[in-house]
């Protein structure tokens, strides 16, 4: 008997669909432990809030840090936290891949008719991570109210473009970090240096850091495109490396390049796993 066969749909569509299905299951699982969920959601909001509290305490002693005012630092903080929060919400548990490789449960994902990347990305999806995004967005709004920016249409457009590009760049780092865990499956902490470390760094003005470090996050791991370069343009500040002005608008292109590279890294990691079995 011939069943009506489902149409062959494109891999991205299948991926997003599988991702949403698995996410739905995790959300329901979370709700099985309501008390813990409420604590987590609150905790997450407070964690990120305390993060900024440290900056507030700093500014209770000083007026400017590296030549930047509190509102300007809050702008940097808000933009990177929102971007990072988005990537963290969508892909934040990819660092559990190493554990799945070690205990063999990755195999149960590989026999399902859905892209593995989507299934791994949705693993242990945690709604509590909305806490970071909302805190970042709140600070961003607060800083925009406090700042006296000479708005032009280009600058207005640059804000959402920057947030989305930033989220994509961080997302690429998460995927590349997970791909690395196919090889070194208990080295999940390495990616924290670039994700959590990266967003911590981007909260502060580039003028605070040594020029070599700024060069590193511009040319090697292009985190500077998450917010520094476009944000400095919006704030009307000098580019710390004296780069040409068009670079400030390069974030979307850089983000796409990062995603492509991360995708390649993932493929090669998965291929390595499937031919070595780890």
């Amino acid at each position: 008997m011939a069943e009506p066969r489902p149409r062959r749909l494109s891999a991205p569509y299948e991926g997003v669909r599988a991702y949403c299905l698995v996410v739905g299951m995790w959300v329901r699982s979370t709700m099985a432990y309501r008390t813990s969920f409420v604590m987590m959601a609150l905790g997450n909001f407070v964690v990120t809030a305390l993060d900024f509290a440290a900056i507030l305490i700093m500014f209770s002693h000083i007026d400017t840090l590296g030549g930047f005012t509190l509102a300007e630092v809050a702008f940097l903080y808000g933009t990177t936290s929102t971007s990072f929060g988005l990537a963290d919400l969508v892909l934040g548990n990819m660092d559990r891949l190493g554990r799945r490789v070690r205990d063999g449960t990755l195999d149960t994902l590989l026999v399902r008719p859905a892209p593995v990347l989507a299934q791994v990305a949705a693993d242990r999806f945690a709604l509590r991570r909305l806490g970071r995004i909302s805190q970042g967005a709140l600070l961003l709004v607060w800083s925009l109210v406090r700042l006296d920016i000479a708005w032009t249409p280009v600058k207005v457009l640059l804000v959402p473009v920057m947030l989305v590009s930033g989220a994509l760049i961080f997302g690429a780092v998460f995927v590349a970090g997970a791909a690395f865990q196919f090889r070194a499956n208990d080295a999940s902490e390495v990616q924290n240096a670039f994700t959590y470390g990266g967003t911590t760094m981007l909260q502060y003005p580039p003028t605070v850091f040594a020029t070599d470090l700024v060069r590193g996050v511009t040319f090697v791991i292009p985190l500077a495109f998450v917010n520094w370069l476009p944000a400095l343009r919006i704030l009307g500040r000098e580019n710390p490396l004296g780069l040409p002005g068009w670079v400030d608008f390069a974030s979307p292109a850089v983000a796409l390049a990062c995603c492509a590279l991360a995708g390649l890294a993932w493929r090669s990691g998965l291929r390595g796993y499937r031919s070595t079995g780890s």
């Binding site: 432990y33 008390t35 813990s36 969920f37 409420v38 604590m39 987590m40 905790g43 997450n44 407070v46 964690v47 305390l50 993060d51 509290a53 440290a54 305490i57 700093m58 209770s60 002693h61 000083i62 400017t64 840090l65 590296g66 509590r128 070194a184 499956n185 208990d186 080295a187 999940s188 902490e189 390495v190 924290n192 240096a193 670039f194 959590y196 470390g197 911590t200 760094m201 502060y204 003028t207 605070v208 850091f209 040594a210 470090l213």
Partner: protein, 266 residues
């Protein structure tokens, strides 16, 4: 006593086998060390002698705190998750019937872990920091000894807090929420983000009296040589007192939890 020594040794050995994880942790701590060091440098060049530290002392604070991050499991990663998993799966009932004391057993194991991480994850970041920045590290071996003692006490205090958090799993089943809260307090109230002596007014007073300050702030002040003679004794006594209070509280809660397990039949 020999049993607990063996447990501690096996805790040490177990973490020593995670070579890639150790290397990854050292790398991450070092990267964070650089990031925070530059922000502190900017802050202290703006306000020299903030919180009574000069710039070298502030930078020492950064690097010592990165070295102690894993030792005190300040952001999690100690025994807590394993403990909660045993509660969740019910294996804890087996532990309760062991001829060893549950709390001391986990304490010994955690101290073994901490000892490894002091060597495995503490030395390299501090050395890198000392090469890259001008730090205010003590020359006297006695100060280093006092520092080690203070780190030991701080680890026991940290264990006391995390053990209480772990015991919550008996009531909450899922410990993730508690762990998140633990991590947050571990970062903010220990002084990891910003030294507690920079905290303003009453907030600073309270933060410095809480057990979290015994985990990081006190050991760093000891290595910076800010406590002498009677002051040093007082600082160590502060840590020891919190350690005692928390361990006793842990025993009390454990007794209630054990009764719950017996009633439920595991």
């Amino acid at each position: 006593m020999r049993l607990y020594a063996a447990v501690a040794v096996s805790g040490f050995r177990r973490y020593a086998t995670y070579r890639a994880a150790t290397a990854a942790g050292v790398f991450t701590n070092t990267v964070f060390g650089f990031i925070v060091a530059y922000t502190f440098k900017a802050l202290w060049s703006e306000r020299p002698h903030l919180g009574g530290y000069d710039q070298a002392q502030a930078l020492t604070f950064v690097w010592v705190s990165q070295s102690l991050l894993a030792v005190g499991a300040l952001m999690g990663g100690g025994f807590q998750e394993e403990f909660q998993e045993r509660v969740r799966s019910g294996d804890i009932a087996v532990d309760l019937y062991r001829p060893a004391d549950l709390q001391l057993w986990w304490l010994a194991s955690d101290l073994g872990r901490a000892a490894f991480q002091l060597l495995g994850r503490g030395v390299v970041p501090l050395a890198v920091g000392a090469l890259a920045f001008e730090l205010a590290l003590p020359a006297s071996p006695l100060t280093w000894l006092a520092f080690l003692l203070s780190v030991f006490l701080g680890t026991v205090v940290g264990f006391g807090v995390r053990y209480l958090a772990g015991l919550c799993a008996f009531w909450l089943l899922d410990g993730t929420g508690v762990n998140v809260l633990c991590g947050l307090l571990g970062v903010f109230l220990t002084g990891m983000l910003l030294p507690l002596n920079v905290f303003p007014g009453a907030l600073g007073e309270i933060a410095r009296a809480l057990p979290w300050s015994a985990m990081l702030q006190v050991p760093v002040d000891v290595v910076l040589g800010r406590h002498h003679g009677a002051g040093l004794v007082r600082a160590l006594g502060f840590q020891a007192a919190w350690a005692a209070v928390l361990l006793l509280a842990g025993r009390a809660v454990q007794a209630v939890a054990a009764r719950k397990v017996v009633v439920q039949g595991g």
